[in-house]
Symmetry: C3
């Protein structure tokens, strides 16, 4: 198995989901996301159990969706409630998977695994800077790569000094990093002393040089919380220009990944020109620097499993390697053999 299923993943930004159903693959499963008439987000399988048509293309009527192919109607909990054909009997197997969802921090969290294990208390707090009712800067990237290569990228930010030199990070500066971790999370603390201010921070930090503090924490399975602080040389991070960022990494399939990001800052918070400039810098970095590099690495892996290629282990790989091993351990602990995409339907009719 490639994925840990019993876990909360970001399925969408809250603003993406409205009255019109959308479809999204998450951990390989086709899922329909929509708001019910009470405004709550609901997530059910998008694949009709009859002939596998995409339900989100069907007709929505209050809290029901009618299959666009042959007209079976389902409620938003996944139960079939109407069969327009013949005697109209509804087979017992006429059910869609239904997924626990929760809306927090502007994010729709979804639990693709065993629903009886879903505990909303385990949804990570994104620890963003409170912007009141203003929307944070955020973005989305569809990546044609294995999600674990994206986690590797984020857990070893030393790459920023090379592929994001000058924009997101000082170039080739000396980094000091400390690590700590438990079974469920890994934290990397990095300092760079007296370095030139990168252009992303220069938008709201006025000095040409300073200390750069980066803290990033991975929380199982795909949440990364990042605090970046730029201070005067020798200053305390909390006194500086601080951004808090979330990187939410959700496998779409075993070879593609949803990357959601959110960025908040504590300086010049109302300046929408800085919002736009920040969005442009981050989007450009992720699309033209990270994504092509990760895709090139995956291409050179020639379809082989990561560890089978015996990657060179450097000190900076501590966090990424621990993250991979933690996910593997969780997958091994999920002992059930059947995934919810293929419920064992009894034959009916």
């Amino acid at each position: 198995m490639t994925f840990a299923r019993d876990a909360w993943y970001c399925a969408a930004f809250a603003t993406e989901i409205g009255d019109v159903p959308i479809a999204r693959r998450i951990l390989g499963e086709p899922i329909m996301l929509v708001r019910d008439t009470a405004g709550a987000v609901r997530a059910i399988g998008d694949r009709c159990p009859h002939r596998f048509a995409p339900l989100h293309l069907g007709t929505r009527d209050a809290d029901t969706i009618e299959c666009p192919y042959h007209g079976l109607k389902f409620d938003l909990g996944g139960a079939c409630i109407f069969n327009p054909h013949g005697q109209g009997r509804i087979p017992a197997a006429a059910r869609l998977p239904s997924y626990p969802v929760a809306e927090r921090d502007g994010v729709i969290w979804l639990w693709p695994g065993d629903a009886t294990l879903a505990d909303e208390g385990e949804i990570p707090d994104l620890q963003l800077i409170d912007r009141g009712d203003r929307t944070p800067v955020s973005g989305y990237l569809a990546m044609s790569v294995d999600y674990r290569l994206v986690l590797d990228n984020l857990m070893d930010l030393s790459h920023a000094a090379y592929i994001h030199a000058g924009t997101l990070s000082p170039s080739r500066a000396k980094r000091e990093s400390q690590y700590d971790s438990d079974d469920n999370s890994i934290r990397v603390h990095t300092q760079m002393r007296d370095v030139p201010t990168p252009s992303s921070q220069a938008l709201y930090f006025a000095h040409a040089k300073g200390d750069y503090h980066s803290d990033i924490e991975w929380v199982f399975p795909g949440t990364l919380r990042q605090r970046l602080a730029m201070t005067d040389t020798g200053g305390e991070p909390d006194d500086g220009a601080v951004t808090r960022n979330a990187h939410l990494i959700t496998p779409e399939t075993d070879h593609s990944t949803h990357y959601f990001w959110i960025h908040t800052r504590n300086r010049r918070m109302d300046d929408t020109a800085i919002d736009e400039r920040t969005r442009a810098i981050i989007t450009n970095a992720f699309r033209t620097e990270d994504e092509p590099m990760i895709a090139a690495c995956q291409d050179y892996m020639d379809g082989r499993e990561f560890f089978s290629l015996q990657p060179l282990y450097l000190e900076t790989d501590y966090a990424g390697t621990r993250c991979r091993r933690a996910i593997e351990k969780r997958i091994a602990g999920e002992t059930r053999g059947v995934t919810p995409v293929e419920p064992r339907l009894e034959r009916a009719g």
Copy 2:
């Protein structure tokens, strides 16, 4: 095996085949179709047994075709009749498969299986309305889907009330269906009473409402004969505006399908404006409604076998399921292990 080979399939419309050879994959086999100097359609393998070049790109000279790569010449029965090289000896194995063909109802029927079993008496009569020397309305669709999903689509026309609502079919109307079948064919009779006239019938049926009668018959392996009649409410089908249609479904490969259709009507038969309008309505429905839906279903099957996904069985699936089971039974009965695309050539030279 995915295909029944010992059977007649539509290979082409008769009007497609002329003096210039064309190539078409049928049941995975590359086949060259051409008319001989007497005007008869001939079908031989398109793959030269020497180096596998496509023969249809070669030079035709009377009833021979010269391979475009190295110049071997074959007659239209598949025998090699000239080797331009060295001593000119023709290896015994220098043969192409030759396929029984017949021209009926404007269609080229081809038998891809054991030629000794081919009986032209088994070619189904398409039961079209006689148009004298006028060409019926017809069309072709290349579909990137398993042919059995296309048969499923046609054997359960309840889908028309959803994806073709108002154009080919009344919308969401109450249908009454009866079924009967034997080993080789399945018939579905459906009535909808006092329904709005769909736009396809409104071209030649003047009333806004009426009774809609649909009879469709599958004949092994891929022929569907359909009679649609629109009558005044309570009228007899034979007195109404009647169309007779053929849907000819031929596997191209195990994941793609040739769909040929022919449409005839008994009203305003000489009105070529109605011909054009009919062609547009049907083409639009098949291309923009059926094909994307069937392709979406196939996509959601993720490469898995249909029954392994335990599709929900509804009453309306009786005919489609029987059709799949009848084809499976025929395939199981074809005991020979070698397909004609790979004749066991002796080594020569």
Copy 3:
């Protein structure tokens, strides 16, 4: 195995390689080619052993290359010489494969196999006509086909009378061929008597007809040396308009091929208009006649192994078949199991 590895292959034209590294797949392996500060061509693996990033995209500094992703530095012999992270320790496994290369006849020869076996004395002399300091006419074609189908094409030039009729070869003329061979090379001598001058030769041979002499020799694994002579009828080849050509066939992957060609002539050697015209004729023939035909043959092979399809054997297949068998024998003789693309790296760090 598809490839013989212990052999010299053309990796590039010498003019392609300069100070800026380029990447090329050869026998499936990603290789970086660059000139060192002394002007010598160097070839090392392009895949960083750390996270598999493409090194050629990195920063070159004198005779080092810095990985674009995390900054490891390598010398042009493949040794890691700098680790910018943590304590800076360089793991013993931090090495890239290094490939023997040699520059001869304007070609970069590369040995992808066991470097201890590489003997520059085995690099074939291309036997081109000396043009002094003038660049010969040459070209490159990226082909999406198995390299052995390209060798088949060249070892049986009888195809030229069909797909290159009138341009590169007289049309359908009577050919007389003789063959001789040893373990490492195969020669085909062909004469066509009193034939029309093809347009490629007409550029520098003034008579409308003459004798056409073709000698082509395959040298293991992918070098073809060809002498074409057009003479007055009954003349001696050495007195005629002679071209000497090299065709250098290098597998890129198991389904794609690098095709390098070089053309020299002994008539009107300084006429650059003839150079241009020759380049256009050859490029056109290879791109629009050979490549589509070979690709069509491969397509009709449906992914199956060549001999499993029991290709018809004609007299003209003698050389191509011997060539395939000679390569197979060499592959069988390469007993080591590990290819240099996957060195067994010890875990470090």
